[in-house]
Symmetry: C2
Subunit: 248 residues, 2 copies
């Protein structure tokens, strides 16, 4: 057994968005895909790592290429290092596409959370990318389905611990929208009255002067996320989910 040489390191990024009802992920078509092969054409955005570039830098670069966005929530998750994760035709495609001769590609999985506004949708679709319901995805190129599944696992877990939900919502949102997001991602039903009470008592939401318009029911108040209040609360309290909450 010898040390692995001629290997490449890449980043792949599951970019999530929320349209108010379902969770979406950004997929792109594999370029130079030949229809006579049986390689799946849809994949996650990704790239090889460049010289003089850290992994997070590579991930941000990929993200900006795909979405045009710079300040995006981005988090590293797992690494996919199975020696056979890309091989045969897949490996050939990669080497041909990048003009390299790599025997093995290890990839670092990231996930990003973006606000699905018109500008972002316009940018991504103009680039030929698609926002696809995560639930409807059956297979992707290479092991990207596995990477996506891992990203979803990590997202679920993180939504249970920290206020990343707000990264997926517009700056102004209703409490119902926030609740729908939790419901959709975690797959649980939530009592709206208690949810509202809880979330408001946390003090993390600031009401705006605006209300919903044109909805077929009582219009809801718009709120914004008060990040400072959250940071302050974190400092004051150690959340010990497993056993208990202790104060310092």
């Amino acid at each position: 057994m010898t040390i692995q040489m001629n290997q490449s390191l890449s980043v792949d990024c599951a970019v999530f968005g929320f349209n108010g009802r379902t969770l979406k992920v950004l997929l792109i078509e594999r370029r130079y895909y030949k229809p006579d092969t049986h390689l799946d054409p849809l994949k996650l955005p990704g790239s090889m790592i460049l010289e003089n570039e850290t992994l997070p830098e590579a991930a941000y670069r990929v993200l900006e290429e795909a979405t045009g966005l710079k300040d995006v929530y981005l988090k590293q998750m797992e690494i996919f290092s199975d020696p056979q994760r890309v091989s045969g035709e897949e490996l050939e495609w990669i080497n041909r596409y990048h003009g390299i001769r790599s025997e093995r590609v290890v990839t670092v999985g990231y996930y990003a959370l973006v606000k699905l506004d018109h500008r972002t949708i316009a940018y991504t679709t103009a680039k030929g990318a698609q926002w696809v319901d995560v639930d409807s995805i059956q297979r992707l190129a290479m092991d990207h389905k596995q990477i996506l599944s891992a990203a979803l696992r990590h997202l679920c877990r993180e939504m249970l611990q920290s206020p990343v939900a707000f990264e997926l919502l517009p700056r102004k949102f209703t409490i119902r929208a926030l609740q729908n997001l939790y419901s959709a991602v975690l797959g649980i039903e939530i009592d709206n009255r208690n949810f509202r009470k809880k979330i408001l008592s946390s003090g993390f939401l600031t009401p705006t002067s605006e209300k919903e318009q044109g909805v077929a029911h009582k219009p809801a108040q718009y709120y914004t996320f008060n990040r400072n209040a959250y940071k302050k609360a974190v400092k004051e309290k150690l959340k010990l989910g497993f056993i208990n909450n202790w104060k310092y």
Copy 2:
């Protein structure tokens, strides 16, 4: 900018142990270290990744070499990919030590939790490794101090969410020992009466028939961790630390 070639991928592992009072980490001396250079001699156990080996496999291999242990709690944390994280003399040392010509080494950080019993201590010390108080460590070779700090951050975080504490304790332990571990790692004071109540009401501890012996106070009951009870509880309840706890 071109795709990085001639790079290597390594794993480095912070192996933690608990002696009942303080948290320890396993350090090894750098071999082929020349005293006339100013490279720090102590480092974390680590290795380059081999062909036909995944990263977890490499980490387990490193761990077994260092501790003789096979079934060990091991978790991937961050990746250290700064292009300059090893360079100059450090990079030369690595290339000379491994007989390779790498321009860049990206490393994947892991941390492991082991039960510090006599056998393990004997094995590691026979190998020339040392168990060092984490608090007393000022500097390590390369960027291993950073890796260690990251591992500690991750350990703290994980101890707040899942029952990893038991990985650091012997199979049979007292409630006080468990409390001391939380106290030491998290740096907080805990009321023994409430801690005991809470931990016992969780149902995760099974009392054994044994008690402490030869202690200068009322001997405490030994307990074991009931992993099945924990798994069952996890299934039944979604712990949402950020907002709330919801039942399915």
